[in-house]
Symmetry: C2
Subunit: 343 residues, 2 copies
C-alpha cells in the first residue's frame, strides 16, 4: 500500500501533472492567451512604438512628468493621481474624480495604466489609438487635470531642468518641448509599465509557476468562455459588443454607451485583484460578483459560486511584478512658472 | 611676479580663505546656526522619539501609510497629496486643498514635511508637540483627508498585509493596529525625512562646500538678523511673535492670528527654493520679495535687491539631498475594506 502511494506520487510529480500542464498550456494558447515574453528583445518589440522609440532618457523624463502635478491647472493633479502606481495603477474609486472634485460626466472608472500598452485601443470607447494620443486627453479634460496645452508648455519651458532633459533626450540643443512632446515622453514611460506574473511564467513553460488550484481556475476561465474577450497578452484590450450596457443590474449608473457601434474596450485582467471597483462604471466591488455578472450578461452562462471562487484563485496569479520606481525629485518651479489655479 | 602670484595663491588656498571660512563658521555657530550632524549616531539622537523609537520596520510601514490614499474618506488623498515628497515636501499651491476641494478655512499653506522633525512644535500655531501628534490632525480634518479614526482602523484591519506588518513591526502576534498606531508609524517615517545639504557640510567643517557667493550670502543673512528666528538645525521651527500678521501687504489673505499669544511657527528655510509659495498664507511667490518683506516687517531693516539676491544665492545651498524613496506597492483592499466616500 505504501509502495503504491509512493509510485502514484512519483507518477503524479513527473508524469500526469506535467502532461496535464503541457495540455493546459496548449489549451490556453489555443484559446488565444499569450504571455508577456520573457525574452527582453521580444518584449521590447511588443511595447515599443517605432514613431516614438523607447529610450532610457525618455523613460526617466516621462516618469518625472507622470508624477508632476504642475501639469494640471490646479497644480494638484498628476497622471499618478488617478492611475496611482502604488495601488495597481488605479485610484480605487468608482468614478474618476479630478479638478474641483468634478466626476467623470459618464461615471467612468479610471482604468489601470499597468499593461495599458497591451490594449489595442485606449479609453473605454477606444477613441485613442495609442498611449501617445491617450496621454493628451486627461491633461486637458475639464474634470481631470483641466490644463490647456499652453499651460503645460509654459510650465515645462519655465523649468530649466526640464528643458535640458528634453534637449538631452532628443539630442537636440535647440529642442523646445511642446505639449505633444510632453505626452510622448509620458507615453514612453507608460510603455514600460508591464507586470510579468506567475501566469506568464507558466505560459512561458514553467509548469510549477501556478498552483494546482490556479491551474484549475485557469481551466474554468477558459471553459466558461471568458477568453472570448479576455485574451491576448493584455487579457483584454479589444473592442467588444457590450450588450449588458443598458440592461444589467448596475447599468443605470452612468450613461456610457460605448463607441459609435456600441463597442466597449475590454479591460485587462492583469492585477485585477488590486484594481477594484470593476466595470466601466466602477459599479461592482466584489470580484466574484463581477465574474458572475460577466458570465450571465456577456456569455449567457451561469457561473456558480464555486466556479467564481476558482476563477478568482486563478486571478491571484495575474498579480504581476511592478517595475521598481524611485519616487522622483522634481525640479523646482521658477518665477516664470505659471501659478496654479485652483478655480 | 610669477612666483609672487603662486605664493599668493598658496596663501589664499591654505591661509586667508581658510581663516575667513573658519571665522564664518564660528560666526554662524555663534549666531545659533547648527548643522544636521554628519555623524549617524548623533543624527539618530536628534531625530528619534524615545516614546516611539525609529526602527526599519516602522519606517517601511510608515512610508506605505504615508502614500496610502485609502486612509482618507474619499480614498483619493494621502499625506503625500499635500506634503509631496517629489516637490520639496509641499503641494505648491497657496492654500491647502483637500476633501471635496475644500480649502483650509484660515487660508493656511501646507508646510514641508522635510526636516519637520527639527521643528520645536508642529502646525503654524504650534498646537502640536511632535510629529506623532501632528500626523493625527490632517487625516481627520474636514478640509483635508476628512476621515474618522474608525474609518482608518477599519481600512487597516481589513488589509491582512497591513495587520501583519504591524504585528511584525511591534513584535506582537496579537497586535491590533489603532488610529494612534497608524499616526505613530507615519511619524517615524517622517522623522527620517531629513535633507543634509552643502550648508551642513560647511558647518560641519568642509570649507569648500559653499561657493564664495554663498558664503557672502550667509554673511548677509546673519548680519541682517534673519538668524534671530531662522536658527538651530531647522533654520526655523520656534514660535515667534509675528506682528506682521494684520499689518503687512498680504495680511488680508486669510484670517490666521497665530496661537493664543499671537505667536507663529517660523518655517524652515531648508529646501526653501523648492517650496514656494511662501508665508503661512502662501501669499508670496518670489523668494526675494519674501526676504525683503521679512526684513521690513519682522526685523525693521531694509534689505536691498542686491542683498536679497545674495541671501537667495545662499538659500541655494540649503537644497538638501532627499532620502531615496522607492515608491511603494500597497497591499490590495479586500471585501471588508470600507468603500471610499467622495461626498
Amino acid at each position: 500500500m505504501k509502495k503504491m502511494a509512493l509510485t502514484l506520487t512519483i507518477f503524479s510529480l513527473f508524469g500526469i501533472s506535467s502532461i496535464a500542464s503541457d495540455t493546459l498550456i496548449e489549451k490556453a494558447k489555443n484559446a488565444g492567451l499569450k504571455p508577456i515574453p520573457d525574452n527582453q528583445a521580444e518584449l521590447y518589440q511588443l511595447i515599443d512604438n517605432p514613431k516614438n522609440p523607447i529610450t532610457e532618457k525618455k523613460v526617466a523624463l516621462g516618469k518625472m512628468l507622470y508624477f508632476d502635478p504642475r501639469l494640471s491647472k490646479s497644480g494638484l493633479i498628476s497622471c499618478n493621481s488617478c492611475h496611482n502606481l502604488a495601488t495597481g495603477g488605479v485610484d480605487g474609486v468608482d468614478v474618476a474624480t479630478g479638478h474641483k472634485w468634478r466626476s467623470n460626466p459618464h461615471h467612468l472608472n479610471s482604468p489601470t495604466v499597468y499593461n495599458a500598452v497591451f490594449m489595442q485601443k485606449q479609453f473605454w470607447d477606444g477613441r485613442s489609438p495609442d498611449l501617445e494620443d491617450q496621454a493628451q486627453g486627461p491633461i486637458q479634460a475639464a474634470p481631470e487635470m483641466a490644463a490647456t496645452q499652453e499651460h503645460v508648455e509654459k510650465v515645462i519651458n519655465s523649468i530649466p531642468a526640464y528643458v535640458e532633459a528634453f534637449k538631452d533626450a532628443y539630442n537636440d540643443p535647440n529642442f523646445k518641448p511642446t505639449f505633444k512632446d510632453v505626452a510622448d515622453v509620458i507615453a514612453v514611460f507608460e510603455r514600460t509599465l508591464v507586470t510579468p506574473s506567475r501566469y506568464d511564467d507558466f505560459l512561458n513553460g514553467n509548469d510549477k509557476a501556478l498552483t494546482e488550484e490556479e491551474k484549475e481556475g485557469l481551466k474554468v476561465f477558459i471553459d466558461k468562455g471568458c477568453v472570448s474577450c479576455h485574451n491576448g497578452v493584455g487579457l483584454g484590450g479589444s473592442m467588444q459588443p457590450f450588450p449588458a450596457v443598458g440592461t444589467y443590474k448596475y447599468a443605470n449608473i452612468g450613461d456610457f454607451k460605448g463607441d459609435k457601434n456600441g463597442l466597449v474596450k475590454t479591460p485587462t485582467l492583469r492585477n485585477i485583484l488590486q484594481t477594484r471597483p470593476y466595470f466601466h462604471n466602477g459599479a461592482v466591488w466584489d470580484i466574484k460578483e463581477a465574474i458572475k455578472i460577466m458570465g450571465e450578461t456577456q456569455l449567457g452562462v451561469k457561473i456558480s459560486d464555486e466556479e467564481a471562487e476558482k476563477i478568482k484563485t486563478f486571478f491571484g496569479a495575474l498579480t504581476g511584478k511592478k517595475p521598481e520606481i524611485r519616487y522622483p525629485e522634481l525640479p523646482a518651479s521658477t518665477n516664470d512658472t505659471p501659478k496654479p489655479d485652483l478655480h
